[in-house]
Subunit: 225 residues, 2 copies
Amino acid sequence: MKADKPAIILLSGGLDSATVLAIANEDGFACHALSFRYGQRHQNEVDAAVKVANAIGVATHIVTCIDLNVWGGSALTDDIDVPKGGIQDGIPVTYVPARNTIFLSHALGYAEAIGARDIFIGVNAVDYAGYPDCRGEFIEAFENLANLATKAGTLGDGFKIHAPLLHMTKVDIIRRGLQLGVDYDLTQSCYDPIQNSGQPCGQCDACLLRNAAFAEIETVKYQGS
Amino acid sequence: MKADKPAIILLSGGLDSATVLAIANEDGFACHALSFRYGQRHQNEVDAAVKVANAIGVATHIVTCIDLNVWGGSALTDDIDVPKGGIQDGIPVTYVPARNTIFLSHALGYAEAIGARDIFIGVNAVDYAGYPDCRGEFIEAFENLANLATKAGTLGDGFKIHAPLLHMTKVDIIRRGLQLGVDYDLTQSCYDPIQNSGQPCGQCDACLLRNAAFAEIETVKYQGS
């Protein structure tokens, strides 16, 4: 237990980061959640982040604004259709240029300013193999950078980037979250929610991965009963 | 010459980044300047960045907003006095946690989105030895990260972080800029301009370094005449 030791938790409102928040809480950190309005096409995920933070419990929650759609380059920030034909190989058009680098950089500044040395991010290299900034090498390179870039790191009081979901499957992530009491009904994974209702589309990669994982958990539950 | 090859230039409105813009222009890049309103206590530097961009010439100039004073931690973003007792050893309170990491991360996203692979930053390890994110090791670590973090880098079409001022003295920087026609009267270095007039305070570290360099150049000029 690390009671009252502060940590920054990148919280998107999705399934993964909700689980990470629950894990950091369980580990005894005082959790300072950080969410972004970054010019994403829909705001549902920020609303979900607020609900998740309230439900799981945080020391503070900052929602900050950055504008990544001024240059676009992604189906999530630009006028590019979100693919709905099943998961393909390669890096999908939903990749947002440098998004996790930008999020971690802000988290690093926040951490240093408040004296936190631990940053949690819900990247996952199993289901999101296509995203370069969801890999272990990326997390290691960022941690190395963090300790060169900062006053704290330079003085030997280094930062740790925690990516507890890195090697977990979506099914394992959900099971861990359920053990910790995460209410996944509050989370929002869809890349392209239905206008007005805000309901998930059910067809984008994020919906497909999420639904397949919950279906597997349900099947095992029924088979086991 | 790299005519029409796009590059992102981080432009603060200060002396260093104005010189970097002139160098990138001279090298034949199509310069896309990027400036930040980041919650700094005074807005003069963004006004200066606009004037510098117009005077030197750019392909585009984006001024984007991020909010680093929501967590503070620096004399430039928080209610901490700017030191005016002469330059001290160590990392000064004007250090903004992770600022250059945050600026470079945004530049990286912008670069990838528009197909640029060159990013210019005016860091300088001679006069600003106290800032961890103004050192060569930091620039190298960021370049390494950039090529792991992005789709372009992963596909072998890597990024180059240019820091042409890294090992130059302030006098050398100004001399180079004057050769390239930079009008330094448009630039703004002061950490704490006088309210209302916007004139430089003349006593902060940035003013001391700038004024000493111009004084040395003037002395040499008179001695040589």
